[in-house]
Amino acid sequence: MALELRSIHKHFGAVRANDGVTLEVQEGELHGVLGENGAGKSTLMKVISGFIEADSGEVHLHGERLALQSPDDAIKAGIGMLHQDPLVFLPLTVLDNFLLGSPGSFRLNRRAGEQALREAADRYGFSFDPGALAQTLTVGERQQLEIARLLWLGARVLILDEPTTGISAAQREKLFEILNRLAEDGMIVLFVSHKLEEIEQLCHRATVMQRGKVVGHVDAPFSSDQLVEMMFGDVVVSEGRPDAALGSTVLELDAVTVSERLTTVEELSLHVAAGEVLGLAGLEGSGQRTFLQACAGLLKPKAGTIRLGDVDLTGRRYRNFLDAGVHYLPAGRLEEGLVAGMSIAEHFELTSGNASFFVDWNGAEAAATRDIEHHFIKGTKESVAESLSGGNQQRLLLAMMPDDVRLLLMEHPTRGLDIESADWVWTQLLARRESGTAIVFASADLDELLRYSDRIAVFFSGNVLRIVDAGTTTPDELGFLIGGKESVP
């Protein structure tokens, strides 16, 4: 009697998100699913919970093959998923949320619902008032509400995707207590996380994924060493980075506190010199983006100062940061960089710096054709941004960058790119660095971080755990730091 996955395949275009995943979880087992960002954990969980359909493969529950085409199919089969952001309707009461999606006739049975909610609350120690508005609950309590709802709907398998993001330590303990009790009652719990210590503390067994494949299964007690090695694989650090002479300080942060939604970066002090490359390591949402946005002038710090060269830019507008030579290239190339529906020529003209009232379209198109050739973009001047591949979008973004950038802030410079484009991107970036641009980039790719950075700042839950010298650190050390462990045991 168990949940069984057999050879699950799921492709998105050329990306193999799940490439033959096979997994078995017994009743009453707390099963961890571990892996870096992009390892395919979330895709797998969405397949099991019916949010996406697998290309091939089978899901069996208690010996019965399931046909999962929608979340509704999954919940009817007894599989419930607790999302990273709990699916709670904030303006509704706790009870109304609980009753949403409940099976049965058209008429709601509020009394039965309320009783079921109270029973679940007593049994598992949930702490909320059915009449309260959902918006008054903490994130942890919203999770409890969602769990109670899934139980009432008959869930026998509970999937939790990164459930500890944005909840306090106390709430986390409470959640773990509840999960343990559920497992004692025979529930199958799949716990997705990239935090080593949580898996170690909670799970009976864990599956490690990498690049869409299962690397292996491990039983408790776990060895951190082994888990790290399985997560990151053998990172081969290739030839040394070209050393560039560092210039004067370009970016200087002094005790900066800045927050954005669930992430707060506290009292961060840091400086980057001209010609230096600073890599930002850490799991997604650990504060790298918050930090970059503060440096770009998009988030105002609550405390501390940000200086660019000699200029204090604390609290100034984005425009002032741009004028001071800051350039920010976020991860969403098509969402926060390019404009879907506009052509390459239009993009070049938008960022050309020309100021004439009328646009000289003949000149602009000729210039665009030249730039397209010069940057090896596969497309024509009429190609719209969304028709370009990821690599060509990145080439276009770099080609649009002004010449006099002093500080380049970048997220995932080569995510999703083929090797040729990735190499080209770094050739461009290193050339910029030669001419004195300071580069700060966030990446989930240890190889990229180690190969191109001078120093690497490792973020963990909002803070810089440590800044290491890329020349002397090891992939293992980085892996441990990323997982929140200060030292290699």
Binding site: E336, L350, S387
Partner: protein, 354 residues
Amino acid sequence: MNDLVRRLRVPVVSVVLALAATWLLLVVVDAPPLDALWQIWNGSLGRLSKIPDTLIAWVPLTLAAAGLIVTFQAGMWNIGVEGQIVMGAIGAAFVVRELSGPPAVVIVAAFVVGALFGIFWALIPGYLRTRFGVHEIFSGVALVFVASAIAVYLIIGPWSRTGVASTSGTDLFEERYWLPTVGADEYSWLAILVAVAAVVAIAVLMRGTRYGLRLKAVGKNHHSAFLMGIPTNAYMLSAFAMCGALAGIAGTVQALGFHHKLVPSISGNYGFLAILVVLLAGFRALWTAPIALFFAAMLVGSTQLSLRLGIDSSLAGVIQGMLVLFILVVGAWQAQRTRRLARRAETATTAGGG
């Protein structure tokens, strides 16, 4: 050639479907379809004496549509354009009632004040949108009602006709302040000139200038445009202002060129209808002129239907609505098809090892 076929496919298919649906509707209500369409044609562009009537509808419709091109380019639905027309008419009425002087001066002043009133009324939803994130559709609709209420208040209150307070309108303006016409009964050449100039100016502004290019970026991806360093809020507000100015001018033309007084329904629903014109034109400025002419012809021509065939004149509205509906549906279908083809091509290249 192939490109032209692809571009014309959506409008042609839509028009055919709309005509077929209209045909069906006419058959159902037991009316002769061909005869009905003939009456519409004959009551609008088909007869020389009816052409001025058609142009009376064409001018405000075209002006409002030209204005909406700008707000659509900025990615916004300025539904409130109807109220902006009303405010323009109120501004113009104020000038000709209160000012006296050489007609040329007063008329120009009426246009300027009408445009300013329209700008003011458009900047309210613009400000609420950029400052507080209030959706311009909601604030715009609310302000349409407020503008109408102000017009009615003026008509039955401070500007009521001497002796009688009636919703039929204010006293006629002094005749020398009416917009100049060529013949006695014909429509004003000045109004037509203004509409043509507006369409051309907006077309050039949107296609040929840096302002239009940046506005397009703001409309298509507000976030990317901001990161590029474009002051997105200022651009959005300027789009509202420009649309408000053209709507205000439309209101001025309605007041000084057609009604020659302020009436409660001075905007004549042209603002709402202009949204359909722009949708049908695919957001291209130059196309709004012929499409507005088509709409104006339907509107004016369909008044013949009740007279001659006993069919309600709302048939024109039904046809226009269906046309837009089919354009949207066929357009969406085309876009979906293009996406699917693109995806298939992509999968094919990936599979082929590209």
